[in-house]
Amino acid sequence: MSILGWFAKRDRIVSRKKAGGQSRLDIPSDLWVKCFSCDATLYLKELEHNHKVCNECQYHFRLSPEERLAYFFDSESFVEHYDDIKPTDFLNFTDTHSYESRIVASQKKTQRADAAVVGTAKIEGLSVNVGLMDFAFMGGSMGCVVGEKIALITEMAIENKHPLVVFTSSGGARMQEGIMSLMQMAKTSGALAKLSEACIPYICVLCDPTTGGTSASFGMLGDVTLAEPGALISFAGPRVIEQTIRQKLPPGFQRAEFLLENGMVDRVVHRKEMRSTVAGLVRVLGGGQ
């Protein structure tokens, strides 16, 4: 079932519940969840134990930065940096809501200042610098804060000689920060150019979804580029392309496996293999001691 199909179904269930009728599964929703992909009913505790991968169809649910840290990095090893950088509505941008109110709502929802979390951590005992994106914060969009944090953690990697590991999940540049968001693409790419010159490895893991300005900058600049199974990875989103070419896209188009087939990523890595794969790469490429 497609994600849209899933939403439609969920809405039907919710409206039945509201109408006082019995839902198909009369169980507390905080104990069980339905797989977005195969519709299987999954016990939440077991799903979490499984790194939020459906054990029926291997669908990878989206993760928060905290979940990624818990699943892939050594426990208690993460030290957050630059968490005091906050976004500002410097263009006084308004669409259906003001940008300012969108910032406040997202901060309340995610309990963080913006869509990126950066810091230092260990993975299988190896020291690395880490960047993580939170899709729940305005679609993980890259504005000035995200750009600045990625640039800072990259520059820190040049200083502390730790390999850089970034997990992306982002719809692209943040429209509400206009042209300044676009400039973050050049800024982050520039910092990575310096990291390259210093011969420090950069491993980028593309997670669902990674599109637009994020894929067209630090997303696609890894010395090694990994992707999570099924992740949507693209420059232009599927809807825009369908409007351009006026035909339906083939199934699996722009998914991680499609990029692997077209030579755009090095490996598609299942979550249970992620920690050992990243650590293995760090061990071979060097640094992190």
């Binding site: 263009l91 941008f93 750009g147 042209i179 800024k187 150019a193 067209a216 900058s217 693209s234 070419i245």
Partner: protein, 320 residues
């Protein structure tokens, strides 16, 4: 250039009306029925005032129309007019030649340089061939090849930005549009030669930046530069493409905005009404800017050019 009269845009209607009146008065006058010289001169001066007034109070949505005008001088016209010799060089050596980007080596007096520009067409047939100035990955990879050539032979790079955006199509995705742009952004930061860029029409998002990480960036007076097209922004945020003019205001995309935000280093004035009213004059203005800047930048060491460019992009951002 009275013979060259482009089709008027909506906001030019009052001017077109006056000009029509002038024409008919002139016709009357020529028939010798009465002497209308004074009246004609009077209306002509009113028309000129009106033009100045209209063109200095354009909304972002009006400016976009000028930036996208089919008669607006494009990269090839400007390159052939500005440079004494322009030798176009083709192909990315990986897949094919992309006609949406033109590039090559050029001379301008004693100055030798590498030129890269987005290429739009001036009619439907040309536009189909040029894909409306929307490059595929091979366009960006051709540009990368040219930048490497420039770096190797210590030739400065001049680029003209004029694209609605990188092409959002099936094959472009398959061949790695995102990777091609990202690689250019990264490479341009490391280049040891001067890079001078001009947004000559539309600066559409990553597709524009992919040849625009420059030491100096100029906006032509009626050019625009934006993270997303106002139409795209409106259809995503408002779910209504007709809100594009409002989105255009909010996105801050005009030459004035881009300079105020510190992204561009200056605005090049256009002939009254837009570059398409006098393309030769526009070319001359761009040429003097290239000469001046390459002269200044040419005196800097390769290391300082790199550092200056890195620092410029590194400091972009507004946060608390």
């Amino acid at each position: 250039m009275s013979e060259h009269r482009p089709k008027p845009m909506a906001f030019e209607a009052p001017i077109a009306d006056l000009e029509e009146k002038i024409e008919s008065l002139k016709a009357l006058s020529e028939q010798g029925e009465m002497n209308l010289t004074d009246e004609i001169a009077n209306i002509e001066s009113r028309a000129h005032e009106l033009k100045k007034d209209i063109y200095s109070n354009l909304s972002p949505a009006d400016i976009i129309q000028i930036a996208r005008h089919p008669d607006r001088p494009n990269s090839l016209f400007l390159a052939n007019t500005i440079f004494d010799q322009f030798l176009e060089l083709h192909g990315d050596r990986l897949y094919k030649d992309d006609p949406s980007i033109v590039s090559g080596v050029a001379t301008m007096g004693k100055q030798r340089l590498v030129f890269i520009g987005h290429q739009k067409g001036s009619n439907t047939k040309e536009n189909l061939y040029r894909n409306f100035g929307m490059p595929h990955p091979e366009g960006y990879r051709k540009a990368l090849r040219m930048m490497r050539l420039a770096d190797k032979f210590s030739l400065p790079i001049v680029s003209f930005i004029d694209t609605p955006g990188a092409y959002p199509g099936l094959e472009a995705e398959q061949r790695g549009q995102a990777e091609a742009i990202a690689t250019n952004l990264k490479y341009m930061v490391t280049v040891s030669v001067p890079i001078v860029s001009f947004v000559i029409g539309e600066g559409g998002s990553g597709g524009a930046l992919g040849i625009g990480v420059a030491n100096r960036l100029y906006m032509l007076q009626h050019a625009v530069y934006s993270v997303i097209s106002p139409e795209g922004c409106a259809s995503i945020l408002f779910k209504d493409a007709s809100k594009a003019p409002f989105a255009a205001e909010n996105l801050k995309i005009t030459a004035k905005d881009i300079v105020e935000l510190g992204i561009a280093d200056g605005i090049l004035d256009e002939p009254l009404g837009g570059a398409h009213y006098d393309p030769e004059a526009m070319a001359q203005t761009i040429k003097s800017t290239i000469e001046r800047d390459l002269n200044t930048l040419g005196k800097q060491s390769p290391e300082s050019l790199k550092t200056e460019r890195y620092t410029k992009f590194r400091q972009f951002g507004a946060f608390e």
